[in-house]
């Protein structure tokens, strides 16, 4: 018998959401369901989960941005994206945004259940909260009372770095998170984005800062 999992679901289509919840519950899992990005951040942010099923095309935000916000808030559960598209570019941008798996609609419910079991088995990352809040709806960062707006590209680059505190995130991974697949982005462009991000992190008095690891990439460090 497969172990009981705590699954977070974010899907805007009521039909799919309903059948997902029923399917997961009938397989014996605990389900928390959200219908849009705002609700996902509120319901799935602070709870311990074994896996998240996230629809990419939400009405109020990009599912990829929502996942990054959840991860920046300390949510370490593996994520399975659902998408109506399914081109290589879509899948790649999903993985760059922190996806662990991908299913194209319409999918086989049994396959989804099997994939969730595998994801949950591999999930052994302890939650680490950075203290910095990412708002996927407004593409903003918040710390305490302070808030500053980012461009979507800045948001995605920052999220790619701060969702993995302590790890060195490769330059290519940061570019893959911020730009569409195949885009040619110069080193100078990345560096100037990073400079702006550091300034914005200081503006909200963030508890962390981004350091450049020469020749490798970037890492989020606690600010002393």
């Amino acid at each position: 018998m497969d172990p009981v999992l705590r699954i977070g679901v974010c899907e805007d289509d009521p039909g799919i959401r309903k059948v997902l919840v029923r399917g997961l519950r009938s397989a014996g899992h605990d389900v928390t369901a959200a219908q849009d990005g705002r609700e996902a951040v509120a319901l799935l942010g602070g709870v311990a989960l074994d896996a998240i099923i996230m629809d990419v095309g939400l009405p109020d935000a990009d599912g990829r941005d929502v996942v990054q916000a959840l991860q920046a808030g300390g949510q370490r559960a593996p994520v399975l994206f659902l998408t109506a598209l399914g081109t290589v570019e879509d899948r790649l941008s999903g993985f760059a945004a922190g996806a662990d798996d991908y299913l194209v609609k319409p999918f086989d419910l049994r396959e989804l259940l099997a994939r969730l079991q595998v994801l949950a088995r591999r999930h052994d990352r302890a939650p680490v909260a950075t203290g910095l809040q990412l708002d996927p709806l407004a593409h903003a960062i918040r710390h305490g009372e302070r808030q500053v707006a980012l461009t979507p590209t800045e948001y995605r680059m920052l999220a790619a770095i701060v969702t993995r505190p302590g790890e060195v995130v490769r330059r290519a991974a940061v570019v893959a998170a911020g730009w569409p697949d195949g885009a040619i982005v110069s080193e100078n462009t990345v560096d100037s984005f990073l400079r702006r991000l550091r300034v914005k992190l200081e503006q909200v008095d963030a508890p962390l800062t981004i350091e450049t690891v020469r020749g490798v990439g970037f890492t989020a460090k606690e600010r002393r």
């Binding site: 289509d13 039909g15 799919i16 309903k18 059948v19 997902l20 029923r22 399917g23 009938s26 397989a27 095309g57 109506a84 598209l85 399914g86 081109t87 609609k105 319409p106 999918f107 086989d108 419910l109 049994r110 195949g182």
Partner: protein, 451 residues
Amino acid sequence: MNPTHLLERARRAAPGALRRRLIAATGLASAVAAVVLVVTTHLVLDRAGDATVRRVLAERADAIVATLARTSDDADDAAPAVGPYDVLYDDRGRRVAGAVPESFRFPGLADAFARLDRARSERYLDIGETYRLLARPVEVEGRRGVLVLAESLAVYEGDEDAALWLSIVTGTLLVALSMTVAAWISRRALAPVQEMASTAREWSERDLERRFDLGAPTDEIRALGQVLDELLEKVAAAIRAEQRLTAEMAHELRSPLTTIRATADLMALHPDLDEQLREDVADIVAACTTMSTTITVLLELARAGHTGDRDGCTGAQLAEDVRALAAARDGGRLDVDLPPRLVIAAPRVVVLRAIGPLVDNALRAGERVQVTAAVRSGRAVVTVADDGPGVDDEVADRIFEPGAGTTGSGLGLALARRVAHACGGDVDLVRARGGPLGGASFALDLPGHLS
């Protein structure tokens, strides 16, 4: 015309051809002007020289006649009035005064004087381009005679030659100068065009955001750049709108399909489902799969249509795709024999979608499947033959209608034909039975050639 084709054509155009034509045209025009200038100068100087010689001769004759009138009637007194090259004859042609100078270089001079010694009226006579003679009838104290004078043309001809050479040199310099100026101006004027060409060369058909950005329209070419930028903006907007529509369509169709599929899956998970219901649920799932495939194919067709994937599909790529397809189906023996130089003028993914159902059906029908191709007058015909039992006559008539397939869901062949039509081709049943391997054979006909 497709903007990609325009770009391709611009790439192929010989660089600098327009400049060379411009410089050549300027050179030709200025050369014509120079020739006209030289000829006119020559004619004007010739006329002027001619008039001057006549005037000099007439003035000299007037002076001699006046001198003769003042002197006495003694013929000997007339002698001092005439100079060298002047001769006075009486009415019988006898020389009265003056002498024809001896000239070894112009032996005809004496003859010319002799031809004029009885002239009745005033007349001129040219000896080539060396001398001009004037014969003027005179009457001195009642006695008639003829005064003949000669003027050397050497001085005038020398002046004319110098002027001619001067005008030729000036004309040549003028041509060279105007060509240099044309080269310089055209280089400057066409620099933005070069810039545009090299910029456009770096773009791919997916670069929707690229613009020429030549700056304010201060001249015609910058204005053209701006117009092209506006056009690119419109094209990009149209492509973005199409992509958005495609994505929305995909989303709108796939979401309800996902619900249907997942609900059917959920029903199938019930352990106490009766056999008939289980079968019905399986039918729903199969229909969902077919519909999902159709949506995917139509999306790929739409994407391939607007991403400008005009590179086509090579024989090697098609062979690779067909083998991969057969490997995934895991059944039957597949022989693929496609000319390596074969190029089908349709996107690779679309060709695969058109041929997929043919290969799929063939592998289902027989043990052996053969895929071959031939190119005839701009068409590539890919034949898929099997060694199966063939297609029943009643099925053969409506085999391309949706739901009429020999096996499976029956949408495959209808979809294959639809895809082929979209690329300017067709799919047909060539032999219902008795094909190359004994069973049925189908042909996919698409635009193509040998590279």
